[in-house]
Symmetry: C2
Subunit: 216 residues, 2 copies
């Protein structure tokens, strides 16, 4: 159950308003996403739980883990498969205590030092980025580039999932660094056809990792 996916799609309703979280998750799953991450920094706790429960049910039927961003309480209330914790979010070691050994925990990092801390704190994977420039977050940091990604992927004993400014053209270069997978927001949620965009990303992953077969 703690297998880490290769194609993480984050549901975002601040960059677009055509789809709600559930609508985006459905399209991403239909397109072949093997991990859905629910991120919402503005809704009330009760609203977060309502949405997360809906997503959890959709993901369970699809056999894909739902990862809740930041909120361990919401993940527990929605019986989500795991959480993703940024550097300003809930501490990873405490989250592991609260969630037990069976839930997936991912942690964000920008540097090798942060990534190593995330690993030692008990995370199952590190979300590293932004690899390329992005403007999906108002507090986005300077792009780290492929060399940093390669360095971290080589140094860590847990999978590294690259995030930030990634589209289909970048997939092969990213996976060639040793990164395990990719996480995306804009390339899917802003796409004219989010389902087709997801399918295109999945095809790019499959092409870059022929015969891998570990992703959905």
């Amino acid at each position: 159950m703690r297998r880490v996916g290769r194609l993480h799609i984050l549901t975002d309703t601040t960059l677009q308003d055509r789809y709600d979280h559930e609508g985006l998750a459905r399209l991403a799953l239909e397109g072949g996403s093997d991990t859905i991450q629910f991120r919402d920094k503005s809704a009330s706790t009760r609203e977060l739980i309502r949405i997360a429960r809906g997503l959890s049910e959709i993901c369970r039927r699809a056999g894909v883990p739902l990862i809740v961003n930041d909120r361990v309480d919401v993940a527990m209330a929605a019986d989500a498969a795991g959480v993703h914790l940024g550097q300003s979010d809930f501490p990873i070691s405490l989250a592991r205590q609260m969630l037990g050994p069976d839930r997936i925990i991912g942690g964000s990092a920008t540097t090798l030092e942060e990534a190593t801390e995330v690993m030692w704190a008990g995370a199952d994977y590190v979300g590293l980025g932004p690899v390329f420039g992005t403007d999906s977050k108002p507090d986005a940091k300077v792009a780290i580039g492929l060399e940093r990604l390669r360095e971290v992927a080589a140094a860590l004993e847990i999978p590294v999932v690259a995030i930030g400014g990634i589209g289909i053209p970048q997939v092969s270069d990213i996976l060639a660094t040793g990164a395990h997978g990719i996480a995306l927001i804009q390339a899917v949620v802003l796409a004219a056809d989010p389902k087709a965009a997801t399918a295109g990303l999945k095809a790019a992953i499959d092409a870059a990792l022929p015969g891998d077969g570990t992703h959905a």
Copy 2:
């Protein structure tokens, strides 16, 4: 440990910036508050935990429970004595499951119907209000008045803590309804001297409940 206090002071840093949460808590404790509630709807999760841990330590030394507003995860991370959950916050019954039988859980209500639901969900007390007009919350509802307070206090089997527009002049009328205690923001955090304001409120409670002796 689940004894419900009579004088709940909420630390608020949106209405004033003279004091931080910890500064307000210290003054309230020195003035005789027997419950501190930490409420902050804007800080990051990690920042909330940092502040809550500081408050938890101060309150423990004072022998007074720290109640964390809304965030069950933050309360657990800070080993707080309990949580207070509004109607848009974490569900009370789930919070009871997560926190176990020894933590204090309070729930907000405006009507008898909501108050009854809060009680049946497993709360230790109901925070009822706003009893009088207040402008400390942008979404504040119409004042419910003393008659509603009396009705709810008579109907419930758990303590009712009145909130909303309360100052020293209102304390005796409020406690005469059968309400167990009072919760305050503005009358303390906006006071020229928050410690003296708290002490004045405590004296008013003592005068209204002579020989009671159950509050700190």
